[in-house]
């Protein structure tokens, strides 16, 4: 799901990359300037990145409930679905890498066969939290994602092998699956959790990738922005591009849309403002009040409205 199509590659290489380099990001908004304002954290409250980036609740009362009132409502069906489908994808990508290293290039047919036979990730424990019909639907979706990703990786392995006769395991793994999944990052410099985890990070051009199953929302770009800032704070190289991968299902078909974007000054400022505003809410224990309208399926609804 993370691999770009030919058109997306063209859009990235001819459009976004040159523009991102020309655009120029304000130096004060680069992650490596974390010791100075505006990046320097104001409060010593540590937030998870999703807590800064997510704004499903218009007043962010979900954050107040969790962090101040210590109320932890059970995750909604959509949240469980997202978590399970993420796990399904990670399972395929990591298994494929493992197979390449353990079997070796010489027996590439074994890699392809074993990958073809790879079963979906075991998510029985997660499914218990769902209604039977939701569980069955999610199981079906896990199978679709798994089959889709297996086919893509096998085709990429074969494509690389016919082009590179002298390739070794390490290079094959990087070329066929050029992403690091669940990359762990320490966000402490920016007042974020020391145990962050980005969905995927591409190594060829530093690009943060985040997978979403659900409706497209404008604040989703804050997730890629936050990880880009953290990457810059840790490794001191510029991270200019983000990619949101939206997966949806039409019957038995997986539909994928990508939102490739530049992590520009405005997104960076939005992220920092959001961090400061939410850190203040937690630090000062400010109840932001109820939104005018609660969103459908909010897992905090019962906690807010009794």
């Amino acid at each position: 799901m993370y691999f770009l199509t030919e058109e997306e590659k063209k859009h990235l290489l001819k459009g976004l990359l040159p523009r991102s380099r020309e655009l120029g990001i304000a130096e004060e908004l680069r992650g490596w300037n974390w010791p100075a304002p505006p990046l320097q954290p104001v409060y010593d409250t540590v937030l998870a990145l999703y807590e800064v980036a997510n704004s499903y609740c218009p007043t962010n009362r979900d954050l107040y409930l969790r962090r101040v009132r210590r109320v932890f409502p059970a995750p909604s069906a959509a949240m469980v679905q997202g978590r399970v489908l993420h796990a399904a994808l990670v399972h395929v990508l990591v298994s494929a890498k493992r197979l390449i290293y353990s079997v070796g290039v010489a027996q590439y047919q074994t890699i392809c066969r074993e990958l073809q036979e790879l079963g979906p990730v075991n998510v029985e424990s997660e499914l218990q939290a769902l209604a039977p019909e939701d569980a069955a639907d999610l199981k079906r979706k896990v199978a679709i994602v798994t089959e889709f990703e297996k086919a893509r990786i096998i085709s990429r392995i074969q494509e690389i092998l016919f082009k590179q006769p002298y390739i070794g395991e390490d290079s094959l793994a990087v070329l066929a699956i050029p992403v690091i999944v669940e990359q762990k990052l320490d966000g402490s410099f920016l007042g974020l959790s020391p145990n962050l985890s980005t969905d995927a990070f591409t190594v060829c051009e530093p690009m943060i990738v985040d997978l979403k199953f659900g409706e497209r929302r404008d604040f989703h770009r804050l997730t890629t922005t936050g990880y880009a800032l953290v990457m810059e704070s840790l490794y001191e190289f510029p991270v200019n591009i983000g990619c949101l991968v939206y997966g949806s299902f039409r019957g038995d078909r997986l539909i994928i849309n990508k939102d490739l974007h530049i992590i520009d000054d405005e997104l960076r400022q939005w992220f920092i403002e959001s961090r400061d505003e939410k850190a203040r809410m937690v630090y000062e224990e400010i109840d932001p009040g109820f939104p005018a309208e609660c969103y459908q399926g909010c897992h905090c609804y019962a906690a807010c409205h009794g």
Partner: protein, 190 residues
Amino acid sequence: MMLKVSDVKQFLYCPRVVYFTYVMPVHRKVTRKMEYGKEEHLEIERLERRRGFRSYDLSEGERRYRTKLCSERLGVEGVLDMHIVCGSGCFPVEFKNTSRHPGLNHKYQLVCYAMLLEEQYGKPVRHGFLYLIPGKRVHVVEITPNARTFVRKTLDQIKMMIARESFPPAPRRPARCFECEYRNYCADVV
């Protein structure tokens, strides 16, 4: 209410400047730096009249100075230092007396002027220029959709601050307060 383009710049530098302008007007001391800035602007304007367009990466065009721009829709007005009109469009130019990299507040002031020019000419403005007087350098600013959104959001924030008469927090960069003409009124920072 009608805001000024410079309010965007000031608000992003320190929101209290805008507060002291609209909510609690106080006597503002004109500093030497402000007078010097005005003189510099006149001088650069005189020099610009004799120059070509190479530094703006344009082959030809017409310079227009101190244009009054206004938008009822955005609720903002201002006087733009200069703009260039040519076949490929029009481009706002703001003169800035800084030897450092232009600040974000300068960038969004220019974006706001670009939005006003768009309304004046009915054409999209893709780029603007910040002319940095000390080094005679031209800094290109791309007018992106996100930058326009940011300016609209900032205008809304200013209007809300004025409507609620809420005193904003002090800027987190204390260095900004040293040469501020409102320094005497910010008892909590100085």
